[in-house]
Amino acid sequence: MKLRVALLIGACWASATGIWAQDDEDTGRISGNVQILWQSYAEDSLIGAVVPPEKTGYNAYANLLYQRGNFSAGMRYESYLNAVIGFPGRFKGTGLGYRYARYTDRDAGVDVTIGNFFEQFGSGIVLRSYEARALGIDNALDGFRLILTPVRGLQVKALYGRMRLDFDSRLINSPNLIRAIDGELDLNELVPRWSDKDLRVKLGASFVSRYQPGGTLVKDTLVLQLPQNVGAWSYRLGLQRGGWMGDLEYCGKINDPSADNGYTYRGGEALLASLGYSTRGLGISLNAKTVDNMSFRADRDLLLFDVPVSFIPAITQQHTYNLAATLYPYATVISGESSASAEVFYQIPKDTRLGGHYGTKIAIGYAAANALDTTRLSGREGLIDGYTRNSWGFGRTKFVRDLNVSIERKLNKNWKLKYTYFNFQFNTLATPVTTTYKGIVYADIHVLETQVKTARRQSLRTELQALFTDEDKGDWATVLAEYTWSPHWFASVIDQYNFGNPDPDLRVHYLFGTVGYINGAHRMSLGYGKRREGIFCIGGVCRAVPASNGFEVSFSTRF
């Protein structure tokens, strides 16, 4: 039935565009993209490679967007036949996973969306619906969104919807309701005599509510009522002046017994602060946040990547070098943590003794997260509330420490060098990224990256990486070599070697080679080899991917 309706709409659309064309008017534009990922799986008992019975995995997406004047519409067709390893295995079948229509009249300050949409309020801590397609993360809302800008400098967003939970030949939403409103004031745009002021001020506030049918909860001898309507709110302030900028956000949530918090009735609270300063050649960023029981989902009984309404990213940086990025990546402890980070970027000027002819880039970053400073409650109070928090500061249990320093320099026309050092202290009990060690892993990582121009439009890039630790799986080394022929071809080989594994039988090489071709927006690559089990991150989110062995073909294009 759905298909027939879609085709009917298509036919009307086609005839309508025909009529417009006769009037010699703008008939609108179509754009979109296609992504295909295919993997084959072969057995490899040494690395514990997973081989599903169908022996291959296939994910594909095609987005189709239409725009004409103030009107736009779009849809995504997606296929999991069957989902590649590392994706939620319950995603299956082929069909429409996203569709919307939108009308935006900027002059009148009206923007209406029906169907699916993505949205973020402030930092996202009370509401963020977003997609990280390569990780299988998509919590699009499905409903109705209205964005009003009655005067310049004041914007109000209101939405009602259900959140995407699953895909089984069609979009499957969580049945619960999400209702939300957000207001933002930009004082410099709103107040005419403030428009040229150096100081820029933004204020915002949000309220988000979830409705989920309740019931009762039995804990020991207590019979407790589950709240059906749960609200969360936040207030934020953003200041900027010259090279300085500061952000402050406070948020709270009423009692929300959930699988994340062990079905306790304590309210949630969070405080996020950041301060930045930058000038030509120097940049500093300081961040602190304490997040206490702020996990907020469209369904109280779900965990991990399912229907998150709140977005609480990790305090640590998203590293890009293989060993630093995939072995011990930190993820926020969702029940609560206190954390802080500092980062400095500096460029030693060109044509100085220290800076050399091209200048030298230096970056230093440090991030720390601990458990909250809390006291456990006992008896009846303990059953209901769990604990009380004593301060906004750090508790005793260490979750992570991440220090990194990098120096980057162009030596001459053809050579570039970059050295990076990392020092991690990583609590595998707080972020369970490994099954072979429980406790704190102390790791030192050294990375030397070189790039050399070998001929016109050709270059060779290499990475030599080593990780040293006495804990978990011991020492690792990674060697990467990548050769590019601009603008079309690339080839790369990466070998990860667990040379320091305490068990000599597990000192395995994970070798993976890739060849790729790019032409404008079309990109195709073919890979073969072993992939280690590990954590795969993009932007602020990560997903655990099991070990596998085999071929991989990926294709993407935009039209």
Partner: protein, 171 residues
């Protein structure tokens, strides 16, 4: 069985749908209108930005966690003054960093002395509207606001192809 179920009707509808899609996809694409914030905290409409600039505009999608993106934009830096003189191009670096790394954008950009317009797209609204699958993705837009060239990757030397495209527009 209702009239809508007739197989012939479905065939016609499907055919009409695909012809419509094909004909519209041939039309020259322009930059969609999305409101983003720049590093000074000012709201910028991407469509207006591309339309109001007299010469060509380059939209480069990047992120602080994307090494090839940073290589691309750092390599363009040395060439940018010449490109501007010869072709009047304006480079707009669109960061897709989310809340985790958004605060690193301004310190990084200023320390690296980028002279580009930098826009923040933390929930990827503009990236989605432009059909960006992964970064780096570079779009060249002519003075009329139409997308005339794109490249989804960066390797050293790609700037030569881009420069040729820029010269074509300047002719």
């Amino acid at each position: 069985m209702s009239y809508i179920d007739h197989p012939a009707w479905r065939g016609i509808a499907a055919f009409a749908f695909f012809t419509a899609v094909l004909s519209l996809a041939q039309a020259q694409q322009t930059v969609p209108s999305v409101e983003l914030v720049d590093l000074d905290g000012k709201t910028v409409d991407t469509e207006v930005l591309a339309d109001e600039h007299d010469g060509p505009t380059l939209f480069c999608f990047w992120a602080t966690w994307c090494s090839p993106c940073k290589r691309e934009l750092n390599n363009y830096l040395e060439l940018y003054p010449d490109w501007q003189d010869e072709t009047g191009v304006e480079l707009v670096a669109v960061s897709i960093d989310d809340q985790r790394s958004k605060n690193r954008v301004a310190p990084y950009v200023n320390s690296a002395m980028w002279d580009y317009t930098v826009l923040l797209d933390p929930n990827q609204d503009f990236a989605r509207a432009m059909g960006v699958v992964n970064v780096p993705h570079t779009f060249l837009v002519n003075a009329e606001g139409q997308i005339v060239w794109q490249h989804n990757n960066y390797a050293d030397g790609d700037e030569e192809e881009l420069y040729e495209e820029l010269l074509k527009l300047a002719e």
